[in-house]
């Protein structure tokens, strides 16, 4: 009996180590789609960077719809992928159900906190990055009115909008911020047509700089802004090159770094909450040759000063998700 047991456990250990050795990391993209030029694409780029650097391979999965979320996650974990990385808050509830069933698999979720011993939760201080691009928007605006177009109306996106509005008012207390959300469902992450309509409507209200925090929907916002001859601000990835000279800057959220790190840590992924903030270069604003002419030295100096203050803790940007209120804007 004991002999049998030790045999069995030896076999089990062997099987486990064999599984670990062969484990490749995996990533599941949210409904915005892998090539949204923003959030999911940043994640994909992080994964690709890891693959080119290490020569490793990874599994990737796009879902067809909302109902497949849990199955997608389960199947990926079942297939032996480790760690499994997922982009987007919407996986939160599902991951809380699935993670306990796969104690030997490590999971990483971006934009949401899931409390489980085998889950790493990566969140960003989007309020800080949005604050900085808000300052730039206010200083670049000639009309004194700037716009914000969010994707799905959730506290996370309001955090972007609230940080942005605070930055705008810090640079120009008389400025007006027009806020719009694309929708209330995940379809709002991938609706460039509606994004374009909202951008036109905001321009009609006088906005001449529009910040899009809306995943794939932002593609329509940036396009319309370029067509209408006003400025836009991209999000998550560096979207400056999409319309050179017409995108003021991009609020960069290093989703790519989060994915890259998770893949690099591999099966030794450290569970817990990981906050990527301005200080740790988790968020920031994009400067490159495409927007060099749009950003004046004064703007740069002001933003750098604010950035230093935020990093030192001297300036605290109000986080919408801390109390679901915003001192600078009403949603």
């Amino acid at each position: 009996m004991t002999l049998m047991k030790s045999f069995l456990s030896a076999a089990a250990t062997l099987a486990l180590t064999a599984g670990v050795a062969a484990a490749e990391p995996a990533i599941i993209f949210d409904l915005g789609g892998k090539f949204d030029k923003s959030f999911n694409e940043a994640a994909f780029n992080g994964a690709t960077k890891w693959a080119t650097e290490t020569g490793g391979t990874f599994k990737e999965l796009e879902m067809q719809d909302e109902a497949q979320r849990e199955q997608a996650l389960r199947r990926l974990a079942e297939s032996g992928a480790n760690p499994v990385v997922m982009t987007g808050f919407a996986f939160g509830d599902v991951l809380a159900q699935v993670a306990p069933d796969f104690p030997n698999t490590k999971f990483a979720i971006i934009d949401m906190v899931v409390d489980a011993p085998n889950v790493k939760s990566v969140v960003f201080t989007e309020d800080q990055g949005s604050y900085l691009v808000g300052m730039m928007a206010a200083m670049a605006s000639k009309t004194g009115t700037v716009g914000f177009i969010g994707g799905m109306d959730i506290p996370l996106i309001r955090r972007f909008g609230c940080g942005y509005a605070q930055g705008v008012l810090a640079a120009n207390p008389a400025a007006k911020v027009v806020l719009n959300m694309t929708g209330t469902t995940p379809a709002a992450w991938n609706d460039p047509v509606k994004g374009a309509e909202l951008a036109k409507a905001q321009k009609a209200q006088g906005a001449d700089v529009i910040y899009a925090a809306a995943g794939g929907t932002g593609v329509g916002v940036l396009q319309t802004a370029a067509d209408e001859g006003i400025l836009s601000i991209g999000v998550d990835s560096n979207q400056n090159p999409m319309h050179p000279g017409q995108v003021l800057t991009s609020m960069i959220k290093r989703v790519d770094v989060a994915v890259y790190n998770a893949f690099k840590e591999g099966v030794d992924l450290v569970p817990g909450i990981n906050v990527l903030d301005l200080k740790g270069d988790g968020v920031g604003y994009a400067m490159d040759e495409n927007n060099a002419k749009l950003v004046t030295p004064e703007m740069l100096a002001a933003v750098e000063a604010a950035s230093a203050k935020i990093k030192s803790g001297e300036l605290v940007v109000h986080d919408y998700m801390s109390d679901n209120t915003c001192p600078a804007a009403t949603f």
């Binding site: 599994k59 999965l61 796009e62 879902m63 067809q64 719809d65 909302e66 109902a67 497949q68 979320r69 849990e70 199955q71 997608a72 389960r74 199947r75 990926l76 079942e78 297939s79 808050f89 919407a90 939160g92 509830d93 159900q97 069933d101 959730i154 506290p155 996370l156 209330t184 469902t185 995940p186």
Partner: protein
Amino acid sequence: MGTLPKWADVVLVPLVSLALAAIISALVILSIGEDPLATLQVMVDGAIGSAYGWGYTLYYATSFIFTGLAVTVAFHAGLFNIGGEGQAQLGGLGVALVCLALPWPHWSVALLAASVGAAAFGALWAAIPAYLQAKRGSHIVITTIMFNYIASAFIVYMLVDVLRPAGQMDPATARFSEGTTLPTLNEIPGLNLIFTKAVPANVTIFVAIAACVAVWALLWRTRLGYQIRAFGKSGSAAKYAGINPTKIIMITMIISGALAGLMAINNVMGESGRLVQNSASGAGFIGIAVALMGRNHPVGVLLAAILFGFLFQGGAELGLWTHIPIELRIVVQGLVILFTGALDQMVRMMLVFVFSIGKQRAA
């Protein structure tokens, strides 16, 4: 136009349709530089190569049986119910409301109550187009399609503004309580010897099989079934024979909607344990192809549902093991539905032609 022998109509037409869909799918896969045979291998392995794969295939099949039967019942009355998708989503709402209403003590009680909720909501959603058809002559194909959109928008409203728990960002209901969790096949004594890993297929599959028997008995063994079929063959003749058209349209669509709604106990209660957006995942539309392929007979529906379960699960496996992008996976699924559903008549005409040549030669 000549006719086909019965065996050719029942067996050959679906097989040729499938073969055509497979050939075009293979060309699509080839054109993006993937190997069609390896792709098929992945699908077969993933969907029916293991008990685990079967657990998923049967889960999808269970949903398709319900929606396939829904289309079948309506079809026998000459009504084309395209609204299975919306009826199934509303059924999901019924399930969610029932499951969240009480702390259910045992799954069997919850299953009964949730079935009633699912069927009632699905039936209600089908009853409105039925009434418009019966009393106002609004074409049921158009109205049921429209009602899918209304259902979808209504569910979004319910999930975003009414049922979403405070503090949750995801538009979904709260998790149902433990007492509503249906046993999956790996938890049923006896079957757990076959299904050793957790699978989504659950006891609902037995409800689905029972529904097949019930629909067969209804259509071919009851007075109502006779009236439905008579009305479907010729509305005016049926009316002349004393069959009330309004009554038949209403009853048939209510049964049809209830069957589509019942699908929700499989996916909403049995699998996800909460109601999310698009919970039906297109099963309502697949039901049309299932019913057409199954020749509007419960046995055919059962077999066709398993075939589509295979395609669905196999398609999901492609996402895991190949680099075929999701858009093309949907194209392949669409091709199968197109050929088995919409282009069914084209294949039949082709076969009639082939058979008539054969006959001439023989003569």
